[in-house]
């Protein structure tokens, strides 16, 4: 339905072949055992996707937000939770550094992250600072040539497996006095806390990062002190556009699975596809998916063309997250009893989709962002 360039087609073909071979066959088992697909992650550098937005000089692919989103979608058709970890690495860590770090910092960290030697993540959320992120309490105090970090981050994707984290911490009493640091897992005073058990996205490890007088060299401060807000905002917009690709992938698989099923399953002497109620539901699912794709691709293109309006990510993510949950629920309903069992993947699609309405800013925060702009309200 959509028209892609030859390069985009080639990228999609490569990624799809990889997903079908390395992700799809393992997705069910990894969900069941709540394990990270490290084999697949190790192969991602060969596809050139770990630094998809990063400049070529550091091993990146130098592509745009649209390509990154398409890759997320294609991979998520097979295993959304592996893609969530991929996104935390590639967008939250690698792209954050690409956009905000100094040349020296980039030279030090990007090559290992992009070649897959290190796994990256990002630490923003805290137990008492979720949607209200400016209330974060993790503190960084400068002592000589070091910053001393104290506090706890939670709900961190890749927390239990990451090597390098981009971490936000408070450097002053004002709400907006936040700074960005690069923290390696073997820095003194850093440890990972408990791994969290989740409803879905179970192959993507989530956990706490704990800082107890954690010593971070001053050279690992990203940008100037107290400048984090602009780092965050820039990266959150990219995150919200590209994460929409995950929602699209989940919805697309839900629809594909449903279509096969209703064409084969017979009840009352005909296939489910021959019932008008089934046709209406499938058409609605397809319509929602195409609407989500159209919206997301348009927002990604706008971003690539230089538009930095925070509504790009908010619109794409708000619509696609809700759409993915709805379409996955519809798929379960079409499969009936079968859809509810773990023998069929659609219940996993739904559990994975639900997180899309929460992570990277909840639906409510997306609506708030949109409303503020639409209504001209101040923060």
């Amino acid at each position: 339905m959509f028209v892609w360039t030859e390069e985009q087609k080639a990228l999609l073909d490569t990624v799809q072949a990889f997903a079908q071979k390395e992700l799809a066959p393992k997705a069910e088992h990894l969900d069941e055992t709540e394990t990270f697909n490290s084999d697949a992650f190790k192969q991602m550098p060969q596809l050139g996707i770990l630094g998809i937005l990063a400049p070529e000089q550091y091993g990146g692919a130098g592509l745009g937000c649209l390509e990154a989103t398409l890759v997320m979608e294609k991979l998520a058709e097979s295993c959304a939770s592996t893609v969530l970890s991929y996104l935390a690495h590639t967008i939250l860590c690698v792209n954050n550094l690409t956009e905000n770090a100094s040349d020296k910092q980039k030279a030090k960290y990007l090559p290992d992250l992009i070649s897959g030697k290190c796994i990256g993540g990002m630490g923003m959320t805290e137990p008492d600072a979720g949607s209200d992120m400016l209330s974060m309490k993790t503190k960084a105090e400068k002592k000589g040539d070091k910053y001393i970090l104290n506090g706890t981050k939670t709900y961190i994707t890749n927390g239990p497996i990451g090597d390098v984290f981009v971490v936000y911490a408070r450097t002053g009493p004002e709400k907006k006095q936040l700074s960005t640091f690069i923290v390696e897992k073997n820095f003194k005073g850093f440890k990972t806390g408990k791994k969290l058990r989740k409803m879905g996205m179970r192959a993507s490890p989530t956990g706490e990062l704990v800082f107890e007088n954690c010593e971070v060299p001053a050279e690992n401060l990203v940008g100037e002190e107290n400048q984090s807000i602009s780092h965050m905002m820039r990266n959150l917009n990219v995150e919200r556009i590209t994460i929409s690709g995950i929602s699209l992938g989940i919805a697309s698989s839900s629809l594909a699975y449903s279509k096969n099923y209703v064409n084969e399953r017979e009840q009352f002497g005909k296939t489910l596809a021959q019932f008008q109620t089934t046709q209406q539901r499938v058409a609605e699912m397809a319509n929602q998916l195409v609407a989500g794709q159209t919206l997301t691709y348009a927002m990604a293109r706008a971003y690539d063309e230089g538009n930095r309006d925070m509504r790009l990510g908010a619109h794409a993510k708000l619509f696609t997250a809700q759409m993915a949950t709805k379409v996955a629920l519809d798929a379960i309903q079409l499969l009936g009893g079968y859809g509810y069992t773990r023998e069929y993947p659609v219940e996993r699609y739904m559990r994975d989709a639900k997180l899309m309405e929460i992570g990277a800013g909840t639906n409510e925060i997306m609506r708030m962002l949109i409303a503020r702009q639409e209504l001209g309200l101040k923060d």
Partner: protein
């Protein structure tokens, strides 16, 4: 604190007593273990027995036959209170009452004498099996064969999605004894040790994890006449007589999920001393209004059931609205709680996974709409 719903249980002393007894049992015996049971897909017979010892294994069979002899207000109240702690166990208890209903309604005196007291004491746990791999929504498409053979029947075939399979002692099974889609079906009450009968694979599910669901396999399974419930060919009538009640149970469980999630939203969804965000206040007010309406309709259907009136339309309405409300509220509250919403320790995600099943079991919601439309057509003519 729980929100208030009218009529309050206090209007009927049995119901009030049932609610407080069950609530105490739920707090003591279910809440501490349900997280683990959900995670490990474990059914605890011992928890069922705790409820059975208090008479909740056979709530509406009358006392002379060994049951607790309560009315349907109390039955639905008990199911609702159990579901707040464990949707899985509420399903087990609800399903357990289906063969009991068939027994007292269609069984002969011998059969009632043989089984009702043992249901009452909790010695027996019952199951109900209608669905087959190729007969889900299309129930009368079932093909499990029951061939006449001397003084009994020989059963061959497979049943699917039987709740409590493998843990139940007595199974109400619908099988085919003739070619007529509906009138060629006969009901049997099968003991678990019957030769030629075994339980096949246990399903792994998205939710209802502490409620087993499995296949039943019949290989030259010999069933004597004495296990037939009702006459030959009456099986669909027997099944349908229980399905309406079963649908109310599903709707009531949906109501329980909605009520439980609403309370979690108001306790977890705001910081200490602050009020709930206005957007969530508005949404939860609307959910509360719908839960209240449904709560009242459940009392209405209980009264009808006590009087022995047909409840087909009401049951379909309750199942449809209750399961949809459960899905909407649990999904909304997961979202409202943010990341805590999807974490297993906060339990709302479990309620959401459980809620989805309610739109599918006891006839999908699409089937409920067909049933209702048929009832509406009948009212027109």
């Amino acid at each position: 604190m729980p929100f208030r719903y009218y009529p309050e249980a206090g209007l009927d002393s049995d119901e009030a007593k049932t609610r407080s007894t069950v609530r105490a049992l739920v707090d003591k015996h279910i809440r501490p273990t349900i997280g683990e049971d959900d995670r490990t897909s474990q059914f605890r017979r011992s928890t069922f027995e705790v409820f059975a010892r208090e008479g909740f294994g056979a709530i509406f069979i009358n006392a002379a036959l060994g049951g607790k002899g309560l009315g349907y207000e109390s039955y639905y109240a008990a199911i609702e209170e159990v579901a707040r702690g464990s949707v899985s166990l509420a399903i087990t208890l609800g399903v357990n009452h289906l063969p009991q209903g068939a027994l007292v309604q269609f069984g002969n005196p011998d059969q009632i004498a043989r089984y009702s007291k043992r249901f009452g004491s909790g010695e027996l746990l019952g199951a109900f099996s209608l669905s087959e791999p190729n007969a889900g929504s299309d129930a009368t498409g079932l093909i499990l064969a029951a061939k006449r053979d001397g003084k009994g029947y020989v059963l061959n075939g497979t049943k699917a999605w039987c709740s409590t399979a493998g843990f139940a002692d007595l199974y109400l099974v619908m099988a085919r004894t003739g070619p007529d889609r509906s009138k060629g079906i006969t009901a049997f009450l099968l003991e678990k040790d019957t030769s030629g009968f075994r339980v096949g694979k246990q399903e792994k599910k998205m939710g209802l994890c502490a409620s087993p669901l499995g296949e039943l396999i019949f290989e030259n399974c010999q069933v004597p006449d004495s296990q037939r419930i009702g006459e030959e060919g009456m099986g669909m009538k027997v099944a349908l007589s229980q399905l309406d009640g079963g649908r109310v149970v599903i709707g009531v469980i949906g109501l329980a999920i909605a009520k439980e999630c609403l309370e979690r939203l108001w306790s977890l969804g705001k910081k200490e001393g602050e009020s709930l965000a206005p957007g969530w206040q508005a949404r939860s007010a609307y959910w509360y209004a719908r839960a209240q309406a449904l709560h009242s309709v459940v009392h209405q259907v209980a009264l009808s059931k006590n009087r022995g009136e047909p409840i087909t339309a009401l049951a379909a309405q309750i199942k449809l609205l209750g399961s949809d409300l459960a899905m909407e509220v649990s999904s909304g509250v997961v979202e409202a709680l943010g990341t805590r919403g999807v974490l297993r320790e906060y339990e709302v995600e479990r309620l959401l996974r459980d809620a989805k099943a309610l739109q599918i079991v006891e006839g999908t919601n699409q089937i409920q709409q067909l049933v209702l439309a048929r009832e509406m057509e009948a009212m027109q003519s």
